[in-house]
Symmetry: C2
Amino acid sequence: MKKIGFIGLGIMGRPMAGHLLDAGHELVTVKRDKPLVSELADMGMRELDSPAAVAEASEVIITMVPDTSDVEQVLFGEQGVIEGLQPGTLVIDMSSIAPLVTQQFSKRIHEAGGVYVDAPVSGGEGGAINAALTIMVGATEEGFARAKPLLEIMGKTITHIGGHGDGQTCKVANQIVVALTIEAVSEGLLFASRAGADVAKVRESLLGGLAQSKILDVHGERMIQRTFDPGFKIRLHQKDLNLALEGARSLNLALPGTANVQQLFQACAAHDGGDWDHAGLVRALETLSNYEIAKQ
Amino acid sequence: MKKIGFIGLGIMGRPMAGHLLDAGHELVTVKRDKPLVSELADMGMRELDSPAAVAEASEVIITMVPDTSDVEQVLFGEQGVIEGLQPGTLVIDMSSIAPLVTQQFSKRIHEAGGVYVDAPVSGGEGGAINAALTIMVGATEEGFARAKPLLEIMGKTITHIGGHGDGQTCKVANQIVVALTIEAVSEGLLFASRAGADVAKVRESLLGGLAQSKILDVHGERMIQRTFDPGFKIRLHQKDLNLALEGARSLNLALPGTANVQQLFQACAAHDGGDWDHAGLVRALETLSNYEIAKQ
């Protein structure tokens, strides 16, 4: 049983922390303005005053916060984790943040005597609740070996991609592929519908061939049924593509399709669609063409 | 056993005609400058002087030619099918051509007393050889019922999408989705590789989640292994996206991603890549960024 400091109890973090408590680990977190959710308090989770205090009490730190700057604040800000870090502490960042900055974070944690692991997840709230997350890990062999038993409590497919930052790189690649595949399905179904075909039959036929994708299956169905409740929010996908485009700029990499799909997400946001499921991307294209996919 | 006129004995048409002969049907075709391939001649296929002569001798006409203008020439050109069309003849166009023009063709064939069916295919040379094609059908209920037993000899998944032209519409939608998904996979893997991750592990990890697609599986592997032999040639995909963009123009439909991916195919063609497999699209992006996906 490990003493774990878990920082970031949002939609994803809450069920993930719950699984660790279920497995018998001892968890502490940072005290916030609002009270700790009662399920976690009832299972024995305790609150301490700062990330530094959490670090002092922990053998493992897990962070699950929104963005790069939030991880930086928790680890290196005032009363940050680094100020209370014990020798050999494992720091696992499961947030989705910038790969290049992650390499800097890992360097600073290692210099302070810790072991850094980046382990962003895919699979959304459902994956977190069902402990079925896909987890992409950047770590040394030693870091991966130490993190793996804990990650297996929260996820199903745990892949050691490579060294520090490679987990985050893989996550960004995932979000690029997902966003562009949503556009692929949107444009294909929109064409079919506008040309007068039954899109449900088109989707069905396409699922049998080279056009098959999980997105055509799940998000194609959402586009046809017009159900755009998240799922995964457009505003979060915008954040992830921002990481992709910032990374591409640093690397001198031209990603014209990714840039284009980000603009379509921005068009959705302009129509109050930041909280739509990312399948709602189709609505930006529909708005352009003054036409909506028709159920038949 | 039907008397079938089969016009268009290219890479796809040859094995398709072979399956019909195997099933015991009687086939004729139009005489060309080069001799009939011996496998088909040995199985009893005969040659006649013109499409009109083929139509006079047939209960069913199947066309499998490159483009819209070729179908028009065969059906309605000098000594075309329509000049010899017998009452009630089934005309099945299995080429991939313009959906809107297909509606005009079907009208003309019906006015001349025939029954028109559009039945484009997906699955490439391998699908044709193994009689495993996906066939997308636009037809009346009667037309579909009559064509189905013959299509089942050549394909595996036969879907009646809707009325005249809807088979072609579905095929165009398929090619839009496939092209954009190739770009999705290209940009994702390129980002991962350029950022220093092992792309083979990234591909493997992504196949387990929402980014999964047949294209990530098959074409992602080609991009990593650097094998760009067709497969499906870029110049043919350019033709199909041309149908998409012409159709979109007629329909007042804006397809920014499709337009973009067509430009990338054109960049491939500019580098003598018209005969590469369409996974070679990644090379246009690599050329932009002066970087090639690295095997690790």
